[in-house]
């Protein structure tokens, strides 16, 4: 599929060029995690205990805020019209845009997570577990977020609406992501169960996200 390849390359290029949003998510992630100890105090034992939850929340927000412009930018400059007319199925077009977004926003978060985990006093095994859960879970965040981005595409204050729409949908991902990460930290619960569910959530969102987002775009564009 040359057309989908071209789209993937373009979106990734745009993300790293001037004005693009790649790495802005990581920066946001870093700032949020840094703020947490100020709010709760520099108690390393406490930070270690809530570390996975903090990282997951920060990753969720970073992912979401970066999604705001995913379709809106294409809508404003008319590109979205041409994407909608494409011979490639719109679901695949949307999925490719989601993939490009995850590669430029979600993946850097996963890579940065161990460094940030260091600040929260997470040890080696906990960090490995956290990175693994983020690697498996962030695609779910991106692809659920696609739906909100598509619904809010034509709205001027789409960013806030997007957050309000999508955050409740991400509750299961958050629950099982943090549960799996905590299990690595030595909690009573086993690691396998929440991790498997997290994988399932990601796979399901990989399918549901593009279909729902494509349907929303078709409606919205009128």
């Amino acid at each position: 599929m040359t057309s989908l390849g071209a789209l993937l390359i373009r979106d990734m290029r745009l993300a790293v060029r001037v004005g693009g949003g790649a790495l802005m998510g990581v920066l946001f992630f870093l700032v949020v995690v840094t703020l947490v100890p100020f709010a709760i105090g520099p108690d390393l034992a406490l930070l270690e205990r809530i570390g996975p939850a903090v990282l997951w929340l920060a990753a969720l927000l970073a992912n979401l805020l970066a999604l705001d412009r995913l379709f809106a930018a294409d809508h404003e400059d008319g590109s979205l019209d041409l994407l909608l007319m494409s011979r490639a199925p719109l679901e695949l077009v949307v999925a490719v845009k989601g993939l490009a977004h995850w590669l430029t926003t979600g993946l850097p978060l996963v890579i940065a997570a161990p460094l940030i985990g260091l600040l929260l006093n997470l040890d080696g095994a906990a960090q490995a577990g956290l990175v693994l859960t983020l690697l498996v879970g962030t695609p779910a965040l991106t692809f659920i977020g696609l739906i909100g981005a598509a619904i809010a595409v034509a709205l001027r204050r789409g960013g806030l609406l997007l957050a309000v729409l999508v955050l409740p949908l991400t509750v299961p991902v958050l629950i099982f992501g943090v549960a799996a990460a905590n299990a690595v930290l030595g909690g009573a619960a086993p690691f396998g169960t929440p991790f498997t569910i997290l994988c399932a959530l990601s796979l399901a969102s990989l399918v549901i996200g593009p279909f729902a987002a494509a349907a929303a775009l078709r409606q919205e564009i009128e």
Binding site: G19, V31, P37, F38, G41, P42, L47, N121
Partner: protein, 242 residues
Amino acid sequence: MSLTDLANPSRFLKFANRVLPWLGGVTVIAFAIGLNQAMGAPDDYQQGATVKIMYLHVPSAWLGMLAWGVMSIAALGTLVWRHPLADVAAKSAAPLGAAFTLLCLVTGALWGRPEWGTYWVWDARLTSELVLFLLYLGVIALWRTVEDPSRAARAAAILTLVGAVDLPIIKFSVDWWNTLHQGESVFRFGGSTIYPTILVPLLVMAVAFTLLFVTLQIAAMRNEILRRRVRTLRLMQAQAAS
């Protein structure tokens, strides 16, 4: 973007071309002397050999602050005198400042691990250094987001000056925050007197790092001037093509 704006920069380019080889050479010599002395310096009686990390850590902390100082002065130049070279200086200093602050954080963590048993504590000094690093990243992000350099320069100048005013407040509040919570388990740098055998290499290393900063800053400014020239010429080209 008028042509007079190129005037001072082209003088600067000539200056940079002349001075950079010499500066580079002096920097290498200073590092040779500094590293030689640092390796020969005795170990600290309390901290042992890890004190060698100090010869990197302290100069990079100093450069992290120096770069923000350079950016603040340049910000005044941008806002008050509208000097194009000030924009260039501010933009070039930001990545350098960020890099040296990062080096300060990394060496600090590597020093902290053997001394305190952990890479990171939410100590006042470390935390304010981390906030400084985040501020640098914010400024760089701002430069990267706004395409028009003179508009980006003004926005970044305001952010830089606010940061310059805010940094002491951050430092103060973090100190206060920390004493509230953590008492004196904090690593105390001024606790032990520094012997001349350690101090002299440290000063030489600080000079070497500063020379390195100046060299890189001038080279980065030269790049930035060239980049703007390319931009101007391209705009002229687009216009001429009609």
